[in-house]
Amino acid sequence: MPDVQALVNDFVLKLKRRKIEGSHASARHTAELLRSVISHQRMRQTNQAGALIDAVKAVGEQLIAANPVELAVGNIVRRVLHIIREEDLSSTATAIEGLGLSAGSDDDDEGQYEDRPALSAAALAAAARSTLRAPSLQTLLGDIPGSAVTPQPPSSWGDSEGKSKSDKNLRSRKLKHDVIEAINELIQDIDTCHEQVSEQAVEHIHQNEVILTLGRSRTVKEFLCAAKEKNRSFRVFVAEGAPRYQGHVLAKELVGKGIQTTVITDSAVFAMISRVNMVIVGAHAIMANGGVVAPVGINMVALAAQRHAVPFVVVAGSHKLCPLYPHNSEVLLNDLKSPSDLVDFGEFSDCMDFGSHGGSPLLHVVNPAFDYVPPKLVSLFITDTGGHNPSYMYRLIADYYSADDLVVKQRSTS
């Protein structure tokens, strides 16, 4: 599949060069790329799901490595992996139903994707199953006797196809088809998440509300515009969001919709926050602990909002939901941009004496792209599935991702 590899390389290059930025764009591109990867994947007779997962992981690893800060890429890779597993499971379930319960299981081909280091296959599969299936009373009760009967019962879905030779051809095509269908749905979800989020706007914005936001987020824009369309009249303070000044763009868009907009400098956030009813910002990514990676400056806004007890609301599509827990994310999940946004090199070249100080530069210019907002500063997340507390994020993540995929890494053997 040379053409697919070319596509992948192209996308990796774009990510590396930051040609594709923003979680929405990168998520969409990733999903499309993975779709084509899957559709070009030649299906083997056995263990198709495993093969697909391997292929996706191989590509996903490259993509994530290309720009680890663009968390949406990783999210989509994990979502696709999850979709494959889910489809496989459902097809297996139907197969099992059709065949009757297959008692034993041979672990030969199954081990391919089950023997992950540091985690026992059984535990992982159990975790996967429990996350995949809705925790209904029936599954809870049904699982217990199953696990009692067979020593490793959860690992019995991937290989059951080996026993059902009759319908395997049909099923193999069906799995791929289902996965591609599901990915199409995912792409559609990514595209329409704004609408779903903004549908909730009227529930959160009341008449004469004063809202503050920083920088520009498409979700925020759609959110505010949706409220305006419902004839709410409110006032928006837009902090310009140096050094990218996307706030100007947002202000222009909002004014175009007839919303009372005031542009303020970022430094005036604290001064104005006391007259603000609600802070609504977009996010770059939502972490599993409920923390937010957001455009730079938002932590400052969140702190000010906390000081004045102003609700701090983050609106984001579910593709920004990242199953990772952040550690020191101000530094590790950050991009340092070019200093030229802040200072003009020409101005400073003449006041710096390069000769004297042993070659080490005297002047550092720091221009980070992102901020990390800890979960305690966030009042509410509004995603396309509704409003959630920061503490609930872990559960949403369990809905979207499989626990096996938290670390997207190809097996070292292949």
């Binding site: 907009t261 970022d266 604290f270 400056g297 006041c351 710096m352 005297l362 221009n367």
Partner: protein
């Protein structure tokens, strides 16, 4: 009447210890009303009314008995509270030398007069007792205030009060006249206190006679007779006392005499020439009231008040065109379109004769933004005033004090039109005006001018230049090797601290945080880097990124308000907040002359609006043109705030020229500083 008076003797001592009670309220109505009428619109009643407001102490001792006494103690208290300079009464002493008996007399004549009126003798004794009883707390209170200075100034101020009466009543009052008037004032009293006294006697002597009295006029008459006899006796007694007190004999019968004596003697020491004192005294007399007014800062001009804005516009020299789309929240602040008035003003240069060229120049520099920063603006203004004073000549038939004050006032309003005053400038102007007001009349014009010029120089030197040096010395002790110091914007004193620390050979790194639209951190950065300091530069949005590595935050301030709020360049609050969140100490460096007694909770009630246009254009970002023609759209406003208010809990320490203090100590410094402020 009796029913009302009856409790008085009982309650009085209690009342004198607690509570905010106007004397008029505690005294029987007849008396309290009679006081203003008798005193015939002299100042004491007014003082009484405003007395509780001016007092710092929650516990207030209502003054003894008479209007004059009220005046005395209130004056004394106001002298204490308003921190009127202690030596102020000194020059007045000479006059009082021959009228020493007057402060005494202000009590005694009343008593003698009461005595001569045929009632009174027991009551006078009683009243003397009550005087003691309330004098004692007063004196302890004064003692607590410290150093008996006030106690000594007690009679002195009484003398002033009398002088005030004379000036109020008779125009230019000479001393004998004043004694006369006081006598007359006091004389007017007995008529009232006669009845009082009578009642008191009844209360005292015939405690049971209250019900009888109303029925039998005979008993009353007898009581009156008795009282009269007693009063005569008392009068004789008092008459005996009075000459002895005035002759300087140490008769400890009356506390008043005792208090008056040493003070008058002490005051005799530093005698000044008579004419000077009289002029000085007038100024001084006005002071307490003025000070009390100053206690509450003037409400600033609110620009949503149409009438006043209109009025101000008619007077204005600078015709600024108002910005069209203004932010609703800030309608009370002036906002003008920048740059339109500059050529206009320049063309008017030769027509505006009342404004001195140097003042004019500085005003234009404010307008164009060439001079910015609290200290720079203040120094520029003071130097301009100095120039103006140098070239000043009193017009014929005008007094220097009045004319120059008016002139400075017009300059100040010109400055305000150019750019709203900073608080530090307001303090400097207040200083200059008080200096002008205090100019002795004896000085010739040239002397007065030179003294004012030297005052201005002294202010600049002591309050700004040397204060900065002291702050630097203090602050540098807080810098250790390996520190990462963060500063925001460009503060002159913080820059001096860094450079001095570098000079001392400390190893540290500086983080300069900056924000749009002024970006004055870049200039600071340039200077620091040129000096060889290791610097990091970032913008305010990245504050939580950079705060991890910072160990200290040094901030400048435009002003420190008396609730500990730091009023400073917009964004300072954000930096302090981030530092607080990351547990990094925040040190605010501010000269004490920038402190102000005003309080502020938010950054909206008082602020300054900058030019909104600079927000829409970002230098170096040519393709960023989304907000061009912003003024055409009524839905879009740009807001360029200049200041914000940092809450005091974000501030770990304020470094001033008086040392390093917590923000809670700011009101103390403001109070103390104001006193000193008047002294220089």
């Amino acid at each position: 009447m009796e029913l009302r008076r009856a409790p008085r003797t009982v309650i009085d001592p209690k009342v004198r210890q607690v509570g905010f009670i106007t004397p008029g309220a505690t005294l029987p109505p007849a008396r309290s009303h009679s006081v203003p009428t008798d005193a015939c619109s002299t100042s004491p009643p007014a003082l009484d009314v405003s007395l509780p407001g001016s007092s710092i102490s929650p516990v207030m001792i209502p003054p003894p008995r008479h209007a004059s006494a009220d005046g005395l103690s209130s004056l004394a208290r106001s002298a204490a509270t308003a921190a009127a300079p202690v030596p102020v009464p000194v020059p007045a002493s000479h006059l009082r030398r021959d009228t020493v008996q007057i402060p005494v007399g202000s009590y005694n004549p009343s008593e003698t007069l009461l005595g001569s009126s045929p009632m009174m003798s027991p009551s006078s004794g009683l009243d003397a007792g009550s005087e003691f009883s309330n004098e004692v707390p007063t004196s302890t209170w004064l003692g607590r205030r410290g150093s008996g200075k006030f106690a000594s100034s007690f009679p002195a101020t009484s003398g002033e009060m009398m002088a005030m009466k004379t000036t109020g009543g008779g125009g230019g009052g000479s001393t004998p006249k004043s004694s006369l008037t006081t006598a007359s004032v006091v004389k007017a009293l007995p008529g009232v206190s006669e009845k009082d006294g009578g009642a008191l006697i009844e209360m005292q002597n015939e405690g049971t006679s209250k019900p009888q009295k109303q029925k039998t006029s005979k008993a009353e008459r007898r009581a009156i007779q008795e009282a009269q006899r007693a009063a005569k006796a008392a009068a004789k007694e008092a008459g005996g006392v009075k000459p002895s007190a005035s002759s300087g004999g140490a008769v400890p019968a009356l506390k008043q005499g005792k208090v008056a004596k040493p003070s008058s003697q002490r005051k005799d020491g530093p005698q000044v020439t008579a004419p000077v004192t009289s002029s000085e005294k007038k100024v001084v007399d006005r002071l307490p009231e003025k000070d009390r007014k100053k206690d509450v800062p003037h409400p600033r001009m609110q620009f949503d008040d149409k009438h006043r804005v209109e009025k101000a516009k008619r007077r204005a020299v600078v015709n600024q065109s108002e910005a069209r789309s203004r932010v609703e929240l800030f309608r009370h602040l002036p906002q003008y379109i920048r740059g339109t008035q500059l050529p206009d003003l320049e063309s008017k240069f030769f027509q505006l004769d009342p404004i001195h060229p140097s003042v004019y120049k500085v005003g234009l520099q404010y307008l164009s933004g060439d001079i910015s920063g609290g200290n720079a603006r203040c120094i520029a203004m003071l130097l301009a005033f100095k120039e103006a004073i140098k070239d000043y000549s009193t017009p014929p038939e005008k007094a220097l004090v009045r004319d120059l004050t008016a002139k400075i006032g017009s300059y100040v309003s010109f400055f305000i039109e150019c750019r709203p005053l900073s608080i530090s400038m307001g303090n400097a102007i207040k200083f200059l005006k008080s200096r002008i007001a205090k100019l002795p009349h004896t000085l010739s014009e040239s002397e007065a001018k030179s003294s004012l010029q030297s005052d201005i120089d002294r202010f600049i030197n002591e309050k700004i230049v040397i204060a900065d040096k002291v702050i630097v010395r203090h602050a540098v002790t807080k810098i250790r090797d390996g520190d990462v110091l963060l500063t925001y914007g460009s503060s002159s004193v913080v820059e001096m601290i860094f450079l001095y620390a570098l000079e001392l050979g400390k190893h540290f790194r500086v983080v300069v945080v900056d924000s749009r639209p002024k970006l004055d951190g870049q200039a600071l950065l340039c200077r620091l880097v040129a000096k060889g300091l290791n610097c990091t530069y970032t913008h305010i949005n990245a504050i939580s990124y950079i705060m991890h590595e910072v160990t200290r935050v040094f901030l400048g301030a435009s002003s420190v308000l008396s609730n500990g709020t730091v009023y400073s360049r917009v964004g300072t609050a954000c930096v302090a907040m981030a530092a607080h969140a990351f547990q990094v100490p925040v040190l605010v460096c501010c000269e004490a002359y920038k402190f102000h007694e005003r309080v502020q909770l938010d950054s909206i009630c008082s602020n300054e609006l900058g030019d909104p246009d600079v927000i829409s254009k970002v230098p170096g970002w040519k393709d960023l043109n989304h907000l061009d023609n912003w003024a055409d759209n009524e839905n879009l406003q740009l807001l360029n705030l200049t200041y914000d208010a940092t809450p005091s809990d974000y501030v770990s320490m304020i470094i001033t020229d008086y040392g390093m203090l917590p923000p809670t100590s700011v009101p103390v410094l403001v109070r103390e500083y104001r006193r000193e402020h008047l002294w220089i």
